[in-house]
Symmetry: C2
Subunit: 234 residues, 2 copies
Protein backbone atom coordinates (compact mmCIF):
# COMPACT_ATOMS: atom_id res chain seq x y z
CA UNK A 1 0.00 0.00 0.00
CA UNK A 2 1.20 3.50 -0.84
CA UNK A 3 1.50 6.26 1.73
CA UNK A 4 1.82 9.73 0.34
CA UNK A 5 1.92 13.20 1.86
CA UNK A 6 1.13 16.27 -0.20
CA UNK A 7 2.78 19.22 1.55
CA UNK A 8 0.12 21.30 -0.17
CA UNK A 9 -3.06 20.13 -1.94
CA UNK A 10 -1.50 19.74 -5.39
CA UNK A 11 -2.59 16.45 -6.79
CA UNK A 12 -5.46 14.24 -7.67
CA UNK A 13 -6.34 11.31 -5.49
CA UNK A 14 -7.32 7.78 -6.41
CA UNK A 15 -8.28 6.30 -3.06
CA UNK A 16 -8.39 7.49 0.58
CA UNK A 17 -7.46 11.03 1.59
CA UNK A 18 -6.79 12.44 5.06
CA UNK A 19 -7.20 16.23 4.95
CA UNK A 20 -5.17 18.11 7.59
CA UNK A 21 -5.76 21.70 8.65
CA UNK A 22 -4.81 21.25 12.28
CA UNK A 23 -5.01 25.02 12.96
CA UNK A 24 -7.93 24.90 12.98
CA UNK A 25 -10.62 23.73 10.52
CA UNK A 26 -10.18 19.96 10.71
CA UNK A 27 -9.79 20.10 14.49
CA UNK A 28 -12.90 22.24 14.90
CA UNK A 29 -15.07 20.20 12.51
CA UNK A 30 -14.48 17.09 14.63
CA UNK A 31 -15.35 19.00 17.81
CA UNK A 32 -18.72 20.03 16.33
CA UNK A 33 -19.53 16.34 15.77
CA UNK A 34 -18.24 15.42 19.25
CA UNK A 35 -20.57 18.04 20.69
CA UNK A 36 -23.61 16.50 19.05
CA UNK A 37 -23.87 18.10 15.60
CA UNK A 38 -25.61 15.73 13.18
CA UNK A 39 -23.39 16.83 10.34
CA UNK A 40 -20.75 19.37 9.32
CA UNK A 41 -20.93 20.91 5.85
CA UNK A 42 -17.84 22.44 4.22
CA UNK A 43 -19.03 24.94 1.62
CA UNK A 44 -17.02 25.94 -1.43
CA UNK A 45 -17.48 29.64 -0.68
CA UNK A 46 -18.49 32.02 2.04
CA UNK A 47 -21.60 32.96 0.06
CA UNK A 48 -22.65 29.30 -0.20
CA UNK A 49 -22.54 29.15 3.61
CA UNK A 50 -24.61 32.32 4.09
CA UNK A 51 -27.31 30.98 1.73
CA UNK A 52 -27.91 28.03 4.08
CA UNK A 53 -28.81 30.19 7.06
CA UNK A 54 -32.00 28.84 8.69
CA UNK A 55 -33.48 26.87 11.53
CA UNK A 56 -31.15 24.29 13.03
CA UNK A 57 -28.21 25.68 11.06
CA UNK A 58 -25.10 27.07 12.72
CA UNK A 59 -22.74 29.09 10.52
CA UNK A 60 -19.10 28.83 11.56
CA UNK A 61 -15.91 30.06 9.98
CA UNK A 62 -13.10 32.54 9.77
CA UNK A 63 -11.08 34.72 7.48
CA UNK A 64 -7.50 35.31 8.56
CA UNK A 65 -8.27 33.70 11.93
CA UNK A 66 -11.08 36.09 12.79
CA UNK A 67 -14.87 35.50 12.81
CA UNK A 68 -16.92 36.38 9.71
CA UNK A 69 -19.67 39.03 10.04
CA UNK A 70 -23.16 37.41 10.02
CA UNK A 71 -21.73 34.03 11.02
CA UNK A 72 -22.86 32.50 14.35
CA UNK A 73 -19.44 31.24 15.36
CA UNK A 74 -15.78 31.58 14.52
CA UNK A 75 -13.49 28.61 13.92
CA UNK A 76 -12.46 28.07 17.55
CA UNK A 77 -12.35 24.41 18.65
CA UNK A 78 -12.01 25.52 22.26
CA UNK A 79 -15.19 27.58 22.06
CA UNK A 80 -17.02 24.76 20.24
CA UNK A 81 -15.96 22.26 22.91
CA UNK A 82 -17.99 24.20 25.48
CA UNK A 83 -21.22 24.26 23.46
CA UNK A 84 -23.93 21.73 22.66
CA UNK A 85 -24.83 21.20 18.99
CA UNK A 86 -27.23 18.29 19.41
CA UNK A 87 -29.46 18.02 16.36
CA UNK A 88 -27.80 20.98 14.65
CA UNK A 89 -26.07 21.16 11.29
CA UNK A 90 -22.88 23.20 11.29
CA UNK A 91 -22.05 24.92 8.00
CA UNK A 92 -18.36 25.86 7.82
CA UNK A 93 -16.21 27.97 5.57
CA UNK A 94 -12.59 28.81 6.37
CA UNK A 95 -9.53 30.25 4.64
CA UNK A 96 -7.62 27.06 3.81
CA UNK A 97 -9.19 23.97 5.35
CA UNK A 98 -12.46 23.86 3.46
CA UNK A 99 -10.61 24.55 0.18
CA UNK A 100 -8.20 21.66 0.80
CA UNK A 101 -11.14 19.33 1.54
CA UNK A 102 -12.80 20.34 -1.74
CA UNK A 103 -9.54 19.63 -3.61
CA UNK A 104 -9.41 16.18 -1.99
CA UNK A 105 -13.08 15.44 -2.66
CA UNK A 106 -12.78 16.36 -6.35
CA UNK A 107 -11.08 13.01 -7.01
CA UNK A 108 -10.67 11.02 -3.77
CA UNK A 109 -12.87 7.99 -3.04
CA UNK A 110 -12.88 8.47 0.74
CA UNK A 111 -12.22 11.81 2.41
CA UNK A 112 -11.50 12.07 6.14
CA UNK A 113 -10.81 15.13 8.26
CA UNK A 114 -7.75 14.56 10.45
CA UNK A 115 -6.08 16.56 13.18
CA UNK A 116 -3.82 15.81 16.12
CA UNK A 117 -6.80 15.34 18.45
CA UNK A 118 -8.24 12.48 16.38
CA UNK A 119 -4.95 11.35 14.79
CA UNK A 120 -4.96 7.72 15.87
CA UNK A 121 -8.65 7.19 15.15
CA UNK A 122 -8.38 8.94 11.77
CA UNK A 123 -5.37 6.84 10.78
CA UNK A 124 -7.21 3.66 11.76
CA UNK A 125 -10.27 4.68 9.78
CA UNK A 126 -8.18 5.49 6.70
CA UNK A 127 -6.40 2.15 7.01
CA UNK A 128 -9.72 0.30 7.06
CA UNK A 129 -11.04 2.12 3.97
CA UNK A 130 -7.95 2.25 1.75
CA UNK A 131 -7.31 -0.31 -0.98
CA UNK A 132 -4.13 0.96 -2.63
CA UNK A 133 -3.16 4.39 -1.30
CA UNK A 134 -3.58 6.75 1.61
CA UNK A 135 -2.80 10.35 0.73
CA UNK A 136 -2.41 12.90 3.52
CA UNK A 137 -3.11 16.39 2.23
CA UNK A 138 -1.75 19.36 4.16
CA UNK A 139 -3.97 22.41 3.77
CA UNK A 140 -1.14 24.90 4.29
CA UNK A 141 -1.70 28.60 4.49
CA UNK A 142 -2.42 30.86 1.57
CA UNK A 143 -0.74 28.49 -0.86
CA UNK A 144 2.35 27.83 1.27
CA UNK A 145 3.26 24.77 3.32
CA UNK A 146 2.67 24.94 7.06
CA UNK A 147 4.91 23.42 9.72
CA UNK A 148 1.79 22.67 11.81
CA UNK A 149 0.13 20.59 9.09
CA UNK A 150 3.34 18.83 8.00
CA UNK A 151 4.05 17.85 11.62
CA UNK A 152 0.50 16.48 11.96
CA UNK A 153 0.94 14.53 8.72
CA UNK A 154 4.08 13.02 10.29
CA UNK A 155 2.10 11.92 13.35
CA UNK A 156 -0.49 10.28 11.08
CA UNK A 157 2.29 8.56 9.08
CA UNK A 158 3.82 7.23 12.28
CA UNK A 159 0.51 5.64 13.34
CA UNK A 160 -0.01 4.22 9.85
CA UNK A 161 3.50 2.72 9.77
CA UNK A 162 2.55 0.73 12.86
CA UNK A 163 -0.55 -0.62 11.05
CA UNK A 164 1.01 -2.20 7.94
CA UNK A 165 3.57 -2.22 5.17
CA UNK A 166 3.90 0.92 3.07
CA UNK A 167 5.74 2.43 0.17
CA UNK A 168 6.51 5.99 1.22
CA UNK A 169 6.82 8.98 -1.10
CA UNK A 170 9.20 11.86 -0.42
CA UNK A 171 6.44 13.93 1.21
CA UNK A 172 5.82 11.15 3.73
CA UNK A 173 9.56 10.95 4.44
CA UNK A 174 9.74 14.70 4.99
CA UNK A 175 6.71 14.66 7.32
CA UNK A 176 8.06 11.70 9.32
CA UNK A 177 11.42 13.42 9.68
CA UNK A 178 9.73 16.56 11.01
CA UNK A 179 7.65 14.47 13.43
CA UNK A 180 10.70 12.59 14.71
CA UNK A 181 12.85 15.67 15.13
CA UNK A 182 10.22 17.51 17.16
CA UNK A 183 8.92 15.86 20.31
CA UNK A 184 6.35 18.15 21.90
CA UNK A 185 3.50 18.92 19.44
CA UNK A 186 2.99 22.37 20.93
CA UNK A 187 6.39 23.42 19.58
CA UNK A 188 5.67 23.07 15.81
CA UNK A 189 2.09 24.30 16.25
CA UNK A 190 2.97 27.41 18.24
CA UNK A 191 6.06 28.00 16.09
CA UNK A 192 4.21 27.78 12.78
CA UNK A 193 3.08 30.89 10.91
CA UNK A 194 -0.55 29.89 11.59
CA UNK A 195 0.14 29.42 15.32
CA UNK A 196 1.97 32.71 15.63
CA UNK A 197 -0.85 34.48 13.86
CA UNK A 198 -3.48 32.99 16.21
CA UNK A 199 -1.36 33.99 19.19
CA UNK A 200 -1.22 37.56 17.88
CA UNK A 201 -5.02 37.83 17.77
CA UNK A 202 -5.38 36.39 21.29
CA UNK A 203 -6.23 32.81 20.27
CA UNK A 204 -3.19 31.08 21.75
CA UNK A 205 -5.42 28.79 23.83
CA UNK A 206 -6.83 27.35 20.62
CA UNK A 207 -3.30 26.36 19.60
CA UNK A 208 -2.85 24.50 22.89
CA UNK A 209 -6.21 22.75 22.42
CA UNK A 210 -5.25 21.66 18.87
CA UNK A 211 -1.91 20.26 20.10
CA UNK A 212 -3.40 17.45 22.19
CA UNK A 213 -2.67 14.16 20.40
CA UNK A 214 -5.33 11.43 20.05
CA UNK A 215 -7.71 12.65 22.75
CA UNK A 216 -10.76 11.98 20.60
CA UNK A 217 -12.04 9.08 18.53
CA UNK A 218 -14.54 11.15 16.54
CA UNK A 219 -13.58 11.12 12.86
CA UNK A 220 -15.47 13.21 10.28
CA UNK A 221 -15.88 11.15 7.09
CA UNK A 222 -17.30 12.54 3.85
CA UNK A 223 -20.81 11.10 3.52
CA UNK A 224 -22.21 13.16 0.64
CA UNK A 225 -21.02 15.73 -1.83
CA UNK A 226 -24.07 17.81 -2.76
CA UNK A 227 -24.85 21.36 -3.81
CA UNK A 228 -24.81 22.22 -0.10
CA UNK A 229 -21.13 21.34 0.04
CA UNK A 230 -19.14 18.45 1.48
CA UNK A 231 -21.20 16.74 4.17
CA UNK A 232 -19.19 15.09 6.93
CA UNK A 233 -20.59 12.74 9.56
CA UNK A 234 -18.84 10.67 12.17
CA UNK B 1 15.93 39.89 6.40
CA UNK B 2 13.46 37.18 5.39
CA UNK B 3 14.48 33.60 4.68
CA UNK B 4 11.94 31.53 2.86
CA UNK B 5 11.88 28.02 1.42
CA UNK B 6 9.37 27.01 -1.24
CA UNK B 7 9.07 23.23 -1.08
CA UNK B 8 7.98 23.50 -4.70
CA UNK B 9 8.27 26.49 -7.06
CA UNK B 10 4.89 28.03 -6.20
CA UNK B 11 5.37 31.70 -5.64
CA UNK B 12 6.64 34.90 -7.05
CA UNK B 13 9.90 36.35 -5.85
CA UNK B 14 10.83 39.90 -5.00
CA UNK B 15 14.55 39.63 -4.38
CA UNK B 16 17.20 36.87 -4.39
CA UNK B 17 16.36 33.27 -5.29
CA UNK B 18 18.45 30.13 -4.83
CA UNK B 19 17.16 27.41 -7.16
CA UNK B 20 17.81 23.85 -5.97
CA UNK B 21 17.64 20.75 -8.15
CA UNK B 22 20.43 18.85 -6.43
CA UNK B 23 19.69 15.65 -8.43
CA UNK B 24 20.95 16.85 -10.79
CA UNK B 25 20.46 19.99 -12.88
CA UNK B 26 21.83 22.64 -10.52
CA UNK B 27 24.75 20.41 -9.54
CA UNK B 28 25.60 19.69 -13.18
CA UNK B 29 25.26 23.32 -14.35
CA UNK B 30 27.92 24.38 -11.84
CA UNK B 31 30.24 21.57 -12.95
CA UNK B 32 30.04 22.80 -16.57
CA UNK B 33 31.26 26.23 -15.41
CA UNK B 34 33.94 24.64 -13.21
CA UNK B 35 35.16 22.73 -16.22
CA UNK B 36 35.62 25.88 -18.26
CA UNK B 37 32.27 26.57 -19.97
CA UNK B 38 31.86 30.28 -20.64
CA UNK B 39 28.15 30.10 -19.90
CA UNK B 40 25.30 27.70 -19.25
CA UNK B 41 21.93 28.40 -20.84
CA UNK B 42 18.73 26.93 -19.40
CA UNK B 43 16.15 26.80 -22.18
CA UNK B 44 12.41 26.89 -21.61
CA UNK B 45 11.87 23.80 -23.76
CA UNK B 46 13.69 20.92 -25.35
CA UNK B 47 12.99 22.38 -28.81
CA UNK B 48 14.56 25.71 -27.80
CA UNK B 49 17.72 23.81 -26.91
CA UNK B 50 17.85 21.88 -30.21
CA UNK B 51 17.49 25.14 -32.19
CA UNK B 52 20.77 26.39 -30.69
CA UNK B 53 22.85 23.51 -32.01
CA UNK B 54 26.01 24.89 -33.66
CA UNK B 55 29.71 25.49 -33.33
CA UNK B 56 30.93 25.86 -29.76
CA UNK B 57 27.58 24.69 -28.41
CA UNK B 58 27.15 21.60 -26.24
CA UNK B 59 23.58 20.35 -25.75
CA UNK B 60 23.02 18.66 -22.39
CA UNK B 61 19.93 17.37 -20.67
CA UNK B 62 17.68 14.54 -19.68
CA UNK B 63 14.14 13.31 -19.58
CA UNK B 64 13.33 10.96 -16.71
CA UNK B 65 17.04 10.72 -15.86
CA UNK B 66 18.06 9.47 -19.31
CA UNK B 67 19.88 11.31 -22.16
CA UNK B 68 17.84 13.01 -24.89
CA UNK B 69 18.29 11.81 -28.49
CA UNK B 70 20.31 14.34 -30.57
CA UNK B 71 21.79 15.91 -27.40
CA UNK B 72 25.56 15.77 -26.92
CA UNK B 73 25.46 14.94 -23.22
CA UNK B 74 23.10 13.79 -20.51
CA UNK B 75 22.72 15.53 -17.17
CA UNK B 76 25.50 13.68 -15.34
CA UNK B 77 27.70 15.87 -13.14
CA UNK B 78 30.17 13.02 -12.75
CA UNK B 79 30.58 12.71 -16.52
CA UNK B 80 30.84 16.51 -16.89
CA UNK B 81 33.53 16.63 -14.20
CA UNK B 82 35.82 14.55 -16.41
CA UNK B 83 35.46 16.75 -19.51
CA UNK B 84 36.85 20.11 -20.59
CA UNK B 85 34.38 22.77 -21.75
CA UNK B 86 36.79 25.68 -22.14
CA UNK B 87 35.29 28.29 -24.44
CA UNK B 88 32.09 26.29 -24.93
CA UNK B 89 28.52 27.26 -24.21
CA UNK B 90 26.43 24.52 -22.63
CA UNK B 91 22.72 24.61 -23.46
CA UNK B 92 20.69 22.61 -20.93
CA UNK B 93 17.15 21.36 -20.66
CA UNK B 94 15.98 18.96 -17.94
CA UNK B 95 12.75 17.64 -16.50
CA UNK B 96 12.43 19.83 -13.40
CA UNK B 97 15.49 21.97 -12.79
CA UNK B 98 15.33 24.25 -15.80
CA UNK B 99 11.58 24.75 -15.25
CA UNK B 100 12.14 25.78 -11.62
CA UNK B 101 14.82 28.26 -12.70
CA UNK B 102 12.42 29.80 -15.22
CA UNK B 103 9.77 30.14 -12.51
CA UNK B 104 12.32 31.90 -10.29
CA UNK B 105 13.55 34.16 -13.07
CA UNK B 106 10.02 35.25 -14.00
CA UNK B 107 10.00 37.56 -10.97
CA UNK B 108 13.25 37.25 -8.96
CA UNK B 109 15.88 40.01 -9.08
CA UNK B 110 18.86 37.69 -8.62
CA UNK B 111 18.74 33.99 -9.49
CA UNK B 112 21.46 31.59 -8.34
CA UNK B 113 21.83 27.87 -8.97
CA UNK B 114 22.56 26.05 -5.71
CA UNK B 115 23.41 22.47 -4.86
CA UNK B 116 25.18 20.67 -2.05
CA UNK B 117 28.53 20.92 -3.83
CA UNK B 118 28.46 24.73 -3.91
CA UNK B 119 26.16 25.22 -0.88
CA UNK B 120 28.39 27.45 1.21
CA UNK B 121 29.53 29.61 -1.71
CA UNK B 122 25.97 29.92 -3.04
CA UNK B 123 24.65 30.96 0.38
CA UNK B 124 27.39 33.57 0.70
CA UNK B 125 26.65 34.93 -2.77
CA UNK B 126 22.93 35.13 -2.04
CA UNK B 127 23.66 36.90 1.25
CA UNK B 128 25.76 39.51 -0.53
CA UNK B 129 23.08 40.20 -3.16
CA UNK B 130 19.90 40.13 -1.07
CA UNK B 131 18.29 43.29 0.28
CA UNK B 132 15.12 42.01 1.96
CA UNK B 133 14.58 38.32 1.21
CA UNK B 134 16.32 35.13 0.18
CA UNK B 135 13.96 32.53 -1.23
CA UNK B 136 15.18 28.98 -1.72
CA UNK B 137 13.12 27.22 -4.37
CA UNK B 138 13.08 23.43 -4.42
CA UNK B 139 12.57 22.09 -7.95
CA UNK B 140 10.89 18.88 -6.80
CA UNK B 141 9.95 16.11 -9.17
CA UNK B 142 6.98 16.17 -11.50
CA UNK B 143 5.14 18.63 -9.30
CA UNK B 144 5.88 16.91 -6.00
CA UNK B 145 8.31 17.87 -3.24
CA UNK B 146 11.59 15.99 -3.13
CA UNK B 147 13.42 14.95 0.03
CA UNK B 148 16.75 15.59 -1.77
CA UNK B 149 15.93 19.22 -2.59
CA UNK B 150 14.33 19.97 0.80
CA UNK B 151 17.40 18.57 2.59
CA UNK B 152 19.67 20.75 0.41
CA UNK B 153 17.50 23.78 1.19
CA UNK B 154 18.05 22.98 4.88
CA UNK B 155 21.82 22.96 4.40
CA UNK B 156 21.62 26.35 2.67
CA UNK B 157 19.42 27.69 5.50
CA UNK B 158 21.93 26.49 8.08
CA UNK B 159 24.76 28.37 6.36
CA UNK B 160 22.60 31.49 6.01
CA UNK B 161 21.60 31.39 9.70
CA UNK B 162 25.31 31.66 10.53
CA UNK B 163 25.59 34.77 8.34
CA UNK B 164 22.94 37.04 9.87
CA UNK B 165 19.55 37.57 11.46
CA UNK B 166 16.54 36.12 9.70
CA UNK B 167 12.79 35.82 9.90
CA UNK B 168 12.04 32.22 8.87
CA UNK B 169 8.90 31.02 7.12
CA UNK B 170 7.43 27.55 7.74
CA UNK B 171 9.17 26.14 4.66
CA UNK B 172 12.54 27.19 6.08
CA UNK B 173 11.64 25.62 9.42
CA UNK B 174 10.66 22.37 7.72
CA UNK B 175 13.88 22.29 5.66
CA UNK B 176 16.05 23.03 8.70
CA UNK B 177 14.31 20.28 10.67
CA UNK B 178 14.99 17.79 7.88
CA UNK B 179 18.63 18.90 7.70
CA UNK B 180 19.11 18.56 11.44
CA UNK B 181 17.42 15.19 11.71
CA UNK B 182 19.53 13.66 8.95
CA UNK B 183 23.29 13.77 9.33
CA UNK B 184 24.88 12.14 6.29
CA UNK B 185 23.76 13.87 3.05
CA UNK B 186 23.94 10.63 1.09
CA UNK B 187 21.01 9.27 3.11
CA UNK B 188 18.30 11.76 1.99
CA UNK B 189 19.72 11.90 -1.55
CA UNK B 190 19.90 8.14 -2.07
CA UNK B 191 16.58 7.67 -0.22
CA UNK B 192 14.67 10.25 -2.27
CA UNK B 193 12.47 9.25 -5.18
CA UNK B 194 14.91 11.01 -7.53
CA UNK B 195 17.89 9.18 -6.02
CA UNK B 196 16.19 5.79 -6.17
CA UNK B 197 15.24 6.40 -9.76
CA UNK B 198 18.84 7.29 -10.72
CA UNK B 199 20.08 4.19 -8.92
CA UNK B 200 17.63 2.07 -10.92
CA UNK B 201 19.04 3.31 -14.25
CA UNK B 202 22.64 2.72 -13.13
CA UNK B 203 23.46 6.32 -12.15
CA UNK B 204 24.04 5.76 -8.44
CA UNK B 205 27.54 7.25 -8.70
CA UNK B 206 25.98 10.56 -9.73
CA UNK B 207 24.02 10.56 -6.46
CA UNK B 208 27.24 10.11 -4.50
CA UNK B 209 28.89 12.93 -6.46
CA UNK B 210 25.94 15.27 -5.76
CA UNK B 211 26.06 14.48 -2.02
CA UNK B 212 29.47 16.10 -1.39
CA UNK B 213 28.85 19.28 0.58
CA UNK B 214 30.66 22.54 -0.25
CA UNK B 215 33.45 21.07 -2.35
CA UNK B 216 33.19 23.84 -4.93
CA UNK B 217 33.08 27.63 -4.88
CA UNK B 218 31.71 27.99 -8.41
CA UNK B 219 28.26 29.58 -8.30
CA UNK B 220 26.14 30.01 -11.45
CA UNK B 221 24.40 33.41 -11.32
CA UNK B 222 21.79 34.55 -13.83
CA UNK B 223 23.50 37.12 -16.05
CA UNK B 224 20.94 37.56 -18.83
CA UNK B 225 17.45 36.43 -19.65
CA UNK B 226 17.20 36.43 -23.43
CA UNK B 227 15.37 34.54 -26.15
CA UNK B 228 18.11 31.93 -25.86
CA UNK B 229 17.03 31.18 -22.32
CA UNK B 230 18.44 31.91 -18.87
CA UNK B 231 22.15 32.60 -19.20
CA UNK B 232 24.22 31.68 -16.14
CA UNK B 233 27.83 32.62 -15.58
CA UNK B 234 30.05 32.21 -12.54
CA1 LIG C 1 -4.43 26.17 8.94
CA1 LIG D 1 15.67 16.66 -9.27
CA1 LIG E 1 16.27 18.01 -13.28
Amino acid sequence: MKLRVDLLPYGSYSDTVLVVDVLRATTTAAVFLEQGASEVRFTASLEAALEQRGEGIVLAGERGGLPIPDFDLGNSPLEASGLNFTGRTVVMNTTNGTTAAHAAAASGKHVILASLRNAHAAARRARSLAVEEIAIVCAGREGRSGLDDVYTAGVLCEYLLAMGEWTLDDGARIALTVRRQVGDPLEPLAGSAAGESLERVGLGQDVQFCARISESTVVPVLAEHSELGLIFRS
